[in-house]
Symmetry: C4
Subunit: 248 residues, 4 copies
């Protein structure tokens, strides 16, 4: 059933170009390095998504984008292979109909928060989306000793369950995953999770365990609502920086 799924239908060149650009944006902003990936649900077929083949995100162009079923099987058999961790994306799209785009990364400043008891908190209004809590997925709990990767459906299901209804989830000894209702949302969440992590490192260095006047949950909710405009302005900036020779 999951072999050779059929395509959800054609999408615009701009849609594909924006998804490829998002990959380069995440590299440019330091969220991904030689690994990491961003996907987008098919705009007309909620049971399909698009993601690049397995390659360095800084190099992704529209020709590298592949369509997958939510079981993370490619719609064109025999083509280039997808990331071993594409199940992160497929299983989140199954579990969260509201989510249209997913970013997975290994940002160095975020990883520490998946290794210790300290919770990531929202340090400023731009990271208001974190104020509702940031869960940590430890693959050991359900799968024992593994290679750490979310490399099949069952691991993806457990991972998506840990994400719950939140926009961001950390992954022990691995990285993190950010989601959004649009491609712009997901990229914004990924970038500002990284910025917030740096601010929290510095703040905890100053506080020495003392109180920190972080955003509370309601402040976070209100700040996040008003940040929709900031998301668009950030996207305009980032998108322009990675525009390629052909104008995409």
């Amino acid at each position: 059933m999951s072999d050779d799924p059929i395509s959800g239908g054609p999408v615009s060149a701009e849609f594909i170009a924006d998804l490829a650009a998002a990959s380069r944006i995440l590299a440019e902003e330091g969220v991904v390095d030689a690994a990491g990936h961003v996907s987008h649900r098919h705009p007309d077929a909620s049971d399909r998504y698009f993601m690049s083949c397995a390659m360095a995100p800084a190099l992704v162009t529209p020709d590298d984008i592949i369509e997958f079923s939510l079981d993370s099987d490619p719609c064109v058999a025999g083509g280039r292979g997808g990331s071993i961790e594409r199940f992160i994306h497929g299983e989140i799209y199954k579990a969260r109909p509201d989510i249209k785009s997913v970013v997975h990364s290994h940002s160095p400043s975020v990883i520490p928060f998946g290794l210790v008891d300290t919770k990531m908190q929202a340090m400023f209004h731009m990271a208001g989306f974190l104020a509702g809590g940031v869960p940590v997925f430890d693959i050991r709990e359900k799968f024992g000793t593994t290679d750490i990767l979310v490399s099949d459906g069952p691991k993806g299901v457990a991972f998506a369950a840990c994400l719950g209804d939140k926009p961001v989830v950390l992954m022990r000894a691995h990285g993190s995953t950010a989601c959004g209702k649009t491609l712009q949302d997901a990229v914004f969440h990924a970038v500002y999770t990284e910025v917030n992590a740096r601010i929290q490192h510095w703040t905890m260095g100053l506080s020495g365990g003392g109180p920190m006047a972080v955003l509370d949950e309601e402040e976070g909710r209100l700040a996040d609502a008003v940040n929709q405009g900031a998301r668009g302005r950030a996207w305009d900036l980032w998108r322009r920086r990675v525009r390629d020779d052909t104008g995409w």
Copy 2:
């Protein structure tokens, strides 16, 4: 009364070009990212100021500069909109006749000092302007649970009152605002507040709570007076780096 205010009169192309360049300088120096803004009071009309429309500061050109009344209403109705936080600027210009330019930013290394009890202090002579004290504005004190933004006149008034007679004010869970008697002053204050924050993080890491031989208030005042020359040299460097294709 505040709808459709009339313009304070024409200003030179160089004035507008410098203000747009200041926006790009702040992006280049890492003080602002996709958000933040810089304004300048009208040189001939003290009840008007100029600022870009709501956009990423790295992209601002002279065409993006808008004139506002001190109630932060645009002088040309129906044009592009100003930042939701333009009241930061308008209310400071009302409260502080000596101030001609204002920078608002979310610099990551500065934000921690708005979240903990540790005061920002002047770590070196280039930041002598901080030695008189750096207040912290917590919007909760007067306005309870909000979206954190200084998004209307009353919030701007309270914010300007917290700034008092200082050049820099921190904003809890938000960022900071730097002021100056000239555009060059305000940009210099914004950049060196960021540099000073990084130095203080490192110094406190070394001191482990022990004494730090920071600038005292009188040393800061003397150092700041002699820094006028340094401001000009810094501006020459920064201005050249962001010069655009048309020579501005």
Copy 3:
């Protein structure tokens, strides 16, 4: 006996170009600065290796690559001299037949782990190769007070013995050395040792001496096995970034 060793035979231009490129990659990725070097064992003669002459790694081109015996004597007498620390490479190739490539560097974030009792541990799956332990070589133990450099055969022998069967060894008050079964492996190990060091600094800052859920040895072994694909993708990215004008 070790004077004027004969060459192990011609190698492809691509082989030499890749080795020179690896040098520039390490500079680009911040692993080496004005010092440091990377070598590769001769593909057809296991008792020879190639390395640049003594120069800044960012400037290395194919013309700068020299062939050495495992006693670290150049195969062409009277040419440009090799690094004073080339014995690091020669003695590892003698002691470790499985190793084909070696990187020596002074990466600032790695050096602290050679100065204190804290062990470097594997913070995430990309650094799974570190989970088996990272030895520290202190040249004082066998050689007393020295100039710190591994500058002759006996020091190289002691150094290679400290490395043992591991891929990475730290050097007290000096730097570190990373090895691999291929050039890509060695460069990957060098880059991710640096990234892992930064993550560990931040994690220990958060943990305050408390537990850190790092990779255990078996997780590291499994993650490292699956990272072979990641190595290739990383190389593709890095190699493209340093491609020179002639296409190499």
Copy 4:
């Protein structure tokens, strides 16, 4: 007597070009920003030195280099003015006949070591020149409350006395000054003082006050002697990076 001193005689265009390039190198390597300066003693007249006029170091070209007496008076009256802190240079040249070049900077990672009781130590062989100790100049001790700057002869004399026979001296709430027997030496000392500071911040974060196996004084002396080659290779790299359009 110190007004209108006569020139020590013509010097080569290459000498002046290298000095101007050193200024741009220090900017490129992050040692100086909008302020800071580097000087070189006249090669044929030990009572004269060359330094740029007061300007941002990143912008210095050969045309900006001025000749001074050791009282820090310019040899050409009525020309562009020198830095207010040129007495740092003149008084060191008087007190230390062995010194031919001086760099003054406000490197952010170095400043903390001038504010706390923690001594800067040599973390690795490239900074062996620091192992003999790094004094801290506190201008308050002799001059009370000042603007912090070494802005006249008497302050320069006290400052040079604090430097003593060392290559580097820190300045409380100000910055640091590095000296050398050649221009290359002074630049190398300035760059690696900055790198060493960063390593020490990270090492002390790990050690938590525990022992650090830094270079001892004799190791430092031996490592520094062998670093002469590294200085040349570093200069080759840095010099090439700032070469200007005219080939200088």
